[in-house]
Symmetry: C2
Subunit: 269 residues, 2 copies
């Protein structure tokens, strides 16, 4: 094994992105685990380190995601997974608003606490995929443009993600479309929001300087973690593209070929 | 009649927006002429003034639009109408590229000079309306992200337009969505591009200081004309909203209730 780089020393807690780090989604069935990742998660959880999973996944409920990962062989429980839906619900409740949901149909149960029959006065947008129709975009736009101070809550702001068929547009583009049309600024929950990373660290009682985030999204995983004071390590799996290594505005604390290599380095095997 | 304001003196040429100035589109049939607009166009064309129509309409071919306006009673011919599709075709030909068309199905015949069976290496986006599906957006995104220097030609960049059922998202939002996801900058043809306004003035042989643009879009009609050195007058019809009068970054040379009032002022009736 190569010399251990600086970033992997003195780590007490590890934050893991899910899609593109643990597995590749898309195609038929549950997707495909990335080589060595199941074993890497098992080794991390058998070590004294704390582990949490920070995902911007909003194409399904948190429970569905956990069940899928367990089926694939990952040892994961619901309370270890941080995703944007609970944060979006908190914001809406605090403001006493009624949301229009521009989200994936499979994610709707995560918002069951709201009465969706009331006239909406704000919009929650997620990775709606095929539900990003013109009609649905326009309904969200009409809610926003009718408000004096439009409230648009965006669950993440990713540019794209990788599926078997190639790169796919993520929620970020559709968020900017609504911002432009309605003349408003979205409030982003989930990565790269600092509160999201710090909430996960607080949950595992690890200070920022002893934590590392491992992800495939240079802006939202690595950039977001670093702005929160957490080290960010980029995997060369998932949506990683060679340009990320040379042309990005974000400089990761380290690069690894995959999660397995990152865990080797952290555990000093 | 009130005193004539400064903007309406010494005018030799008039540029007119179509949707929201001549008629309101949407609903069943051809739409509804705006009160007094048919007569106003007739009076302008009977005067010594030159008239051209500058539209960002891309939901149909230019010929279809002209036929519809003639059916509604407007005296308009094809060579008086400037729309973004010919400008988009020129850019693509100059660059020797093969476009992917993210446009309204009814507008496709305006691009018949291109062989659409070839693998696309650039994207033309227009007001595709219901054709703004996730699948079509993603196809455009995948063309752009596969190119080292992505070329995205946007036919206009309007925020929204008005139909009978209310305000509808225009091409601008979907343009910004692709810009964000693919990390590129669109080249806009049509309003508010200066070349578009100046082309229409050149066609009628009128200098910028003797021209006025009359439109309902404060940014693309009024702002675009003014940046080209042309006076811009805002009508209170179409997509006009009271906020445009007090909160916009653009200050029109004048406001009028509708086209009929603008023509009264210009002709000094």
């Amino acid at each position: 094994m190569a010399d251990r780089p600086a970033w992997c020393f003195d780590i007490d807690g590890v934050l893991l992105d899910i899609s593109g780090v643990l597995y590749d989604s898309g195609g038929e069935g549950d997707g495909t685990p990335i080589q060595g990742s199941i074993d890497a998660v098992k080794r991390l959880k058998a070590s004294p380190l704390k582990v949490r999973f920070c995902t911007n996944e909003t194409q399904c409920t948190r429970q569905y995601l956990v069940d899928k990962l367990v089926r694939l062989g990952f040892p994961i429980s619901l309370d270890e997974v941080f995703s944007p839906a609970p944060a979006a619900c908190q914001v809406i409740k605090r403001k006493s608003l009624h949301p229009y949901l521009l989200v994936h149909p499979d994610a709707v149960p995560d918002f069951s606490e709201f009465d969706l029959t009331l006239p909406p006065d704000c919009v929650i947008i997620g990775d709606a995929a095929d539900a990003f129709t013109y009609d649905n975009m326009n309904k969200a736009f009409q809610v926003l443009i009718s408000q004096e101070n439009p409230v648009l809550i965006s669950m993440g702001k990713g540019r794209y993600y990788k599926e078997k068929d190639g790169l796919m547009m993520d929620v970020g583009g559709f968020m900017t479309a609504l911002e432009f049309a309605a003349g408003c600024k979205a409030e982003v929950v989930g990565k790269p929001d600092q509160g999201f990373f710090l909430g996960a660290l607080q949950d595992m009682q690890v200070p920022v300087e002893k934590a590392v985030m491992i992800g495939d999204d240079i802006l939202n995983d690595i950039g977001g973690a670093q702005r929160s004071g957490i080290k960010g390590v980029q995997v060369r799996t998932g949506k990683f593209r060679p340009e990320d290594e040379s042309q990005s505005v974000v400089t990761p604390d380290g690069f690894v070929d995959n999660l397995a290599q990152a865990v080797d380095l952290i555990l000093g095997n």
